[in-house]
Symmetry: C2
Subunit: 267 residues, 2 copies
């Protein structure tokens, strides 16, 4: 998988005792040349969880070319694809290479999580096995939620909601970027998302140790370490702007900045 | 597992490459004495799928005593437990031996299948691992369905519905028993359920081969073979009375009886 990445995916792959390796996208070519032969490559091309970053068109094309050449199946998670702030979209990996890509999406971020619905598209042989695996796991997706979603989509409400969601998250992201710029000490860096929910902050301090102090100051974040399959990113953290009220973002970032400044000055 | 049994359970266990063995309940003691050491024993004590049979109190007590003695975890599926026609219930396996039994239930048969909700009760260490496995599979059950179910139960509607469901299925079961008695040739036998959805019919003919002819006559049943982990029960079939309109049961059984009679007379 491209690392850091979605914690839930790492845990799910781990639960099948898969040998999970985190690979920076630019290191993939060399690792494949050196003989790494993954069965599956997992990636979130848009507004990634946890970094908020988006894979460029050039890297998308290089990625699917590599995976096609080395017969690596790609699992493309498009959870945040529809939540780009400017509405622009790069071609999905699946659209570039439907022969080697399984695209998996969710309605959790664009309808509501409690409906527990998603979709997958990919090579027929893979989808057929996924359908059997799903049947053996939960029989089928819930009919009630499917009917609700159908009505919602047919009525045009999903499209309307996406317009509102993009505007909402864009506004909160801008507020968070402004707050980080205003309050963070100079050595701290962060990503500038063009969509989704998250920014990835490099703090220079131990973010696991800092989490308790942050919680005491009523600031919640997720430390970076669990987003790596092994260890690493001990000084990074994931900040989410999706659910925080607009007028609390500045104060939250200010408190976090103070804590980072204090921790940076400790011996 | 006690065999024949629920096809979905066989498929689910198979999907984990478990070594699945079907065991008649009365053979279990000897098999354990002879050294069989299953990790898990799966059984449906009430109104079983596919046979419609219910495990007696004596067999329940003997079963949990055996499993406790040989350290076998029991998975008790109570899908049909609330659907006894006379409302009487024997003690669940879990109530007899909560130390070695995991009880799993579903709201599919008593609320509606599309809500995709169930429950489990059992030893804390097992439930903790089940919770992690569930999280790694589907994150969590749907919040929408859970809220609906909560309202339904708190309002007393589930209890009301159970009274109606028991009466409905009891009436249809009685109609099917009467139809089998009226139409089946003498060599055919069937179970007499005291609850649930199913009766198990021993026909003396190949029920896989017969299925196409039955479908042509607009009679649907499930052949017995798939309800066994390996092979077997080639001449049995499962008849369901739960979903057939009252006034169609007699005609459907009559057509099936004719087909069995014809097949019995073929060389």
């Amino acid at each position: 998988m491209m690392a850091p990445t979605y914690l839930g995916a790492i845990m799910a792959f781990d639960s099948f005792e898969a040998d999970v390796v985190g690979v920076p996208v630019d290191a993939l070519a060399r690792l494949l040349q050196d003989g790494l032969r993954p069965k599956l490559l997992y990636t979130i091309p848009e507004h990634q969880n946890p970094t908020g970053l988006t894979l460029s068109r050039e890297r998308r094309e290089a990625l699917v070319a590599l995976c096609r050449r080395y017969h690596v199946l790609v699992l493309e998670d498009v959870a945040y694809r529809e939540l780009g702030f400017d509405g622009e979209q790069l071609p999905s990996l699946w659209s570039l290479a439907p022969d080697v890509v399984v695209q998996a999406g969710t309605f959790s971020k664009i309808f509501f999580p409690g409906v527990r619905l998603g979709w997958a598209a990919g090579p027929a042989s893979v989808i057929a096995r996924m359908a059997i695996a799903k049947q053996n796991t939960d029989q089928c997706a819930g009919a009630l939620g499917q009917r609700l979603l159908e009505e919602y989509v047919r009525g045009g409400h999903l499209d309307d909601q996406l317009v509102r969601s993009r505007a909402l998250y864009a506004r909160r992201c801008a507020a968070m970027m402004a707050a980080l710029e205003a309050h963070m000490p100079d050595h701290v860096t962060w990503t500038r998302p063009r969509g989704g929910f998250f920014t990835w902050v490099e703090t220079g301090v131990d973010t696991v140790a800092l989490a308790a102090r942050a919680a005491a100051a009523k600031v919640a974040y997720v430390p970076g370490a669990p987003f790596h399959p092994g260890t690493g990113a001990g000084s990074a953290l994931r900040l989410s702007f999706s659910r925080v009220a607009d007028d609390e973002i500045d104060e939250g970032v200010r408190r976090l900045a103070d804590l980072i400044t204090t921790a940076s000055e400790e011996p």
